[in-house]
């Protein structure tokens, strides 16, 4: 169905364009039945566009769509140009700077636009990154390569394994910090996964993404990458973090702890928030000042990394709500769930109607855990009778672990052991700061 020389066109219009021997980029002339003439470069049809309009890029740069039904004739009058991206110049060697490896997994943190054709080309090599984000050159000696090219919603636990192994490889080759570029939607799941997979880290592993695509001058991609790289290169800590805008201004890039971070807004630049913990580090884009805020684990290149990159995806995250249907628990059991995380209401509650299903799971040696959908706060199942009932059924409360982190940790735990008791024990044993025994009062983190 796909015709690279006539990208996006299908059906009737594709036939007409083929008959006219037109290709994308050709200078074509469209004459209407009423005698109006339009000339321009044939432009790819946008995704899901109908099959009735031909899109021309006029000589003044504007695109217009012309309906086939009102068209008398389409003819090619010139060859046009192909998008041209000149090669970025080779990087000068930066001998005294820290070495940072950039692993890209998807989205385009940096890209270049060909204004004539509108083509957007991702900038992915170290040279290309540096040519688009020149700030990097003075921060670190960069090497870069592509691991995956996926939207973050399509990433799976297998990809987490791949990322963990790749990061470990780069660390073993002496990197002073790792950057993973990642789509923002599921970045906090990956961050949690890497926090469990990469233990006793000698250097920081920082995920960065962008809320505004990199093909626009206002993109936050370059600033996030700059700040993230500065943190990966020099912050005196060694943990997995997510580095993005701290506020809507291009002012600070803040790195949040991988197990305590959540995407909290669908479009704002400052979407990622630390949940009830202090962030790891902050970089000031104006003064270039780098501040390490959580030095619980300091950077130490001699520390021996423990790699535990396996995940078992047979874990379920079920959200409770008024009228919650217990059959979703039954169905998880039938699908072969080896563990279930409930996202309960308030202090950790689900409706009474699901008790039987929960108890059924527990009897089948499928551990059931409780987290809270309030995002902020700790579950406490001793306050109300519902909580006590659930405890009696064998549901294990997960303290203040955020539900997404709990799910990821369960997938990781399932790959570490077969024993249900061991699974329950590991889930409650803090590995990477996912459980905090004291809930601090942090006003600024709460909206």
């Amino acid at each position: 169905m796909s015709h690279p020389e006539l990208e996006g066109y299908h059906g009737e219009i594709l036939e007409h364009l083929r008959k006219a021997r037109a290709r994308i980029g050709n200078l074509i002339r469209v004459t209407s039945k009423t005698g109006d003439v339009h000339e321009g470069y044939l432009f790819p049809r946008y995704q899901y566009g109908d099959q009735h309009h031909v899109v021309l890029k006029l000589r003044n740069g504007y695109n217009v769509g012309i309906h086939l039904g009102r068209t008398e004739k389409i003819e090619v009058i010139g060859e046009g140009e192909k998008p041209k991206f000149t090669k970025a110049p080779p990087l000068p060697k930066q001998f005294r700077l820290p070495r940072v490896s950039i692993i890209s997994t998807g989205g385009t943190i940096a890209s270049r636009v060909d204004y004539r054709t509108g083509a957007v080309e991702p900038a992915l090599s170290a040279e290309e990154l540096a040519s688009v984000v020149p700030e990097l050159e003075s921060i670190a000696e960069i090497d870069a390569h592509i691991l995956y090219s996926e939207y973050s919603e399509n990433l799976t636990p297998e990809h987490w394994t791949g990322m963990a192994e790749e990061a470990a490889r780069k660390i073993s080759r002496g990197a002073d910090g790792i950057i993973i570029t990642h789509g923002t939607d599921t970045m906090h799941y990956t961050a949690a996964a890497l926090s469990f997979a990469l233990q006793h880290l000698p250097v920081p592993v920082i995920l960065v993404g962008a809320q505004r695509s990199s093909d626009r001058p206002s993109s936050d991609a370059a600033t996030n990458l700059t700040g993230g790289t500065a943190i990966a290169a020099a912050a005196d800590m060694a943990a997995v973090g997510v580095a993005m805008h701290e506020e809507i201004s291009d002012h600070h890039i803040i790195a949040h702890k991988g197990t305590r971070v959540r995407k909290c807004h669908s479009s704002r630049r400052d979407t990622f928030k630390s949940i009830e913990t202090r962030p790891l580090a902050r970089y000031d884009l104006t003064t270039h000042r780098l501040e390490t805020m959580d030095s619980g684990t300091k950077r130490d290149k001699k520390r021996q990394l423990t790699l535990k990159p396996s995940f078992d995806p047979s874990a379920y995250l079920l959200k409770s709500y008024p009228g919650f249907d217990h059959r979703s628990i039954d169905s998880a059991i039938q699908q072969g769930a080896r563990g279930i995380v409930l996202e309960g209401t308030g202090l950790g509650h689900v409706p009474r109607t699901s008790y039987d299903s929960i108890s059924h799971a527990v009897r089948k040696d499928i551990p059931v855990f409780m987290t809270s959908q309030t995002i902020w706060g700790r579950v406490d199942m001793n306050v109300y009778s519902t909580g006590r009932d659930l405890l009696n059924l064998g549901v294990a409360p997960l303290e203040d672990m955020i539900p997404e982190t709990a799910l990821v940790k369960l997938m990781w735990t399932l790959a570490q052991t077969k024993s249900p008791d061991e699974i329950r024990r590991l889930m409650l044993e803090p590995v990477a700061g996912e459980i905090i025994p004291r809930t601090p009062y942090l006003m600024e983190e709460v909206h």
Partner: protein, 620 residues
């Protein structure tokens, strides 16, 4: 000479082009502030605007101000744009049909890269609605090349050396752009055509009125000159003057070029040897120099070989060739200004100092020099720009984008951008214009000038000339609103105020464009409610134009134009009758009217006067 016009006008739609914010400007202090830095999205050297690249490397910060009443996350570039406002599309289609242009079957939104900060995204969203229309002006057919619909930019509220501040209220207001072919041959025609386009736009009754809602851009070229783009002519009346002055400016620049050739000056004579002159001028009496030195700055200078007496040459009134250089220096070096040898000694720089500088810069009699005092980097950038401009003078008229001043002169704004840097706005789906939609608009097209004039004379009984004036003014729709809602104010009276009275206020330089629709209606409402006299309305409007935002009631109070109460009026009449008795009825009437004109209903005056005169005579 060839002139092309681009007329921009804000549309009076309920919402902005890509969000649901209202299309009004705020006067409240901002409640939201944030800062950004825009960067070029493209590393292809040849394709990037040198000015854009330069701005980026200077590291200028853009500060945005906003409030929740006039801006939302869309303006802040924190939320993707909503679909294209259908009301704005309909108005644009209507305008396109009025110009008999060919409408596009599918409207595609483009991103036009602008990284001066006026758009938070770094681009302006723009789209072609129609192509190839025309407009007949006094028997001549003027091609209307393009009708486009775009978003207005943020409003610049402050500019400092390393930052620029924009208010976001205006960002996203729909803007229609009408582009004529480059066929206009003389200044008067340019004005006439701009006015004629304005009339068509107003006929839709869907465009905004008043200062800041209209902007004309002009593209002017003359033989042997260059294409100059002039931005932001706010008044239609100014168009012809701008064209005239631009032609003059280009001709004088060509004279300067010829003079330089005669003097045998070559580009290689104008290498920029920038020299530190701080030692020579460190004890100068110039305040500018002293304040720059106190901040740790330097005085730098450059020789301009063969330019003696040319920098002082006037291109157009108040714009010397030196002024052009100064603007360039300001743009590239962000310096406040320059001194050039043709204007020295002056500004506290004395003759011996000038001579020493000339000596240090190795100037001969034919040479000029330029000095600047600022931090070293800014100073060097500024003088580099001055030397570049000097070299361009050898070629003739450099291509530039200039900005129009209120007096019709223009100033350097920035280098002309290369080919439009445009790419599709993928966040907004293209909009289909179906034949059905077009037909619906076609069958509801607004009436044009002659028809409207006829209608006004027939419906409201006002004279032909007055009706024509109304149709040509900004006020015909307000006229109808006032007259239809009123029971007592006569249409001819309202029409006269809205045309002749406002015109004469304009001649007195009263800023009539400030008057809002609300103010105009309220002023007539005062007459309607008997709170002021008909005769007072021009005075009230004058006051309101000088006090935007104020309401007419305050005008009445401030100007003491309120109506007298019956008791007050009686008191005045009693006093005048007793002081002047005996007197004829005619004399008394004149005396009283002289005292209370504009503050009392003449009928009531006569009635009360009759009563008191009668009483007065009986008392004697």
């Amino acid at each position: 000479m060839k002139v092309g016009l681009e007329v921009h006008r804000q549309l009076d739609t309920a919402h902005k082009l890509f969000c649901d914010c209202p299309t009004i400007l705020t006067t409240a202090p901002p409640t939201i502030r944030f800062q950004r830095r825009l960067r070029p999205t493209q590393s292809e050297l040849g394709q990037i605007d040198p000015a854009v690249l330069f701005e980026f490397h200077r590291g200028r910060t853009v500060i945005y101000e906003a409030d929740n009443d006039t801006s939302c996350l869309v303006e802040m570039d924190e939320e993707p744009p909503h679909p294209l406002n259908p009301e704005a599309v309909d108005v644009s289609l209507m305008i396109s049909l009025l110009f008999k242009a060919v409408t596009m079957d599918e409207v595609h939104i483009m991103r036009k890269v602008v990284i001066d900060g006026s758009n938070t995204t770094g681009f302006q969203r723009t789209s072609i609605i129609a192509l190839n229309g025309h407009l007949d002006v006094e028997g001549k057919r003027i091609p209307i090349q393009q009708v486009s619909l775009e978003e207005d930019a943020g409003r610049k509220v402050a500019e400092a050396k390393n930052s620029v501040t924009f208010q976001l209220d205006r960002l996203g207001v729909p803007l229609i752009e009408i582009t004529t072919g480059p066929v206009i041959q003389n200044p008067e025609d340019a004005s006439k055509i701009a006015l004629a386009i304005g009339r068509v736009l107003r006929a839709t009754r869907k465009v905004k009125r008043g200062l800041g809602t209209i902007r004309q851009d002009l593209n002017i070229s003359i033989a042997k000159g260059s294409l100059i783009e002039i931005k932001g002519v706010q008044e239609l009346e100014l168009v012809s003057k701008v064209v005239e002055l631009e032609v003059k400016r280009q001709l004088t620049l060509l004279e300067i070029r010829d003079e330089l050739h005669k003097r045998g000056v070559h580009a290689q004579d104008l290498e920029d040897h920038i020299i530190d002159l701080t030692e020579i001028l460190k004890s100068s009496k110039s305040k500018i120099i002293q304040s720059a030195l106190q901040k740790g700055g330097k005085v730098l200078g450059v020789r301009l070989t063969g330019f003696n007496n040319l920098l002082g040459r006037e291109l157009i009134p108040n714009v010397r060739f030196g002024t052009e250089m100064s603007k360039r220096a300001g743009f590239w070096g962000k310096v406040g200004g320059i001194f050039h040898s043709d204007e020295l000694p002056a500004y506290g720089i004395e003759k011996p100092e000038k001579e020493q500088v000339a000596l240090r810069l190795e100037c001969s009699q034919n040479d000029a020099f330029v000095i600047v005092c600022d931090d070293e980097k800014s100073g060097r950038d500024a003088l580099q720009a001055v030397s570049d401009r000097a070299r361009e003078a050898l070629v003739g008229v450099p291509e530039e984008t200039r900005t129009a001043n209120p007096d019709g002169t223009t100033s350097y704004m920035r280098p002309r951008p290369g080919a439009a840097r445009m790419y599709p706005e993928t966040d907004v789906p293209p909009v289909k214009v179906t034949p059905h939609r077009l037909e619906k608009i076609r069958s509801n097209l607004p009436k044009m000038q002659e028809e409207l004039t006829k209608e006004l004379t027939a419906r409201y009984g006002i004279g032909q000339k007055l009706a024509e004036q109304l149709v040509n003014s900004e006020y015909s729709s307000i006229f109808e609103e006032i007259v239809t809602s009123s029971k007592i104010t006569a249409p001819t009276y309202v029409a006269t105020i809205l045309t002749e009275s406002l015109k004469s206020l304009e001649r007195e330089k009263v800023p009539v464009a400030n008057l809002s629709e609300k103010q105009l209606k309220a002023a007539f409402d005062l007459v309607e409610k008997g709170k002021t006299a008909k005769e007072s309305v021009p005075e009230i409007l004058k006051w309101l134009a000088q006090h935007p935002e104020a309401d007419p009631q305050s005008a009445v109070q401030d100007l003491k134009l309120g109506m007298l109460s019956r008791t007050e009026l009686e008191e005045i009449i009693r006093k005048l009758v007793s002081e002047n008795w005996p007197a004829s009825m005619g004399k008394l009437t004149n005396l009283v009217m002289g005292e209370v004109r504009g503050r009392a209903d003449p009928k009531l005056v006569i009635e009360l006067l009759m009563h008191h005169a009668l009483a007065g005579s009986q008392n004697k």
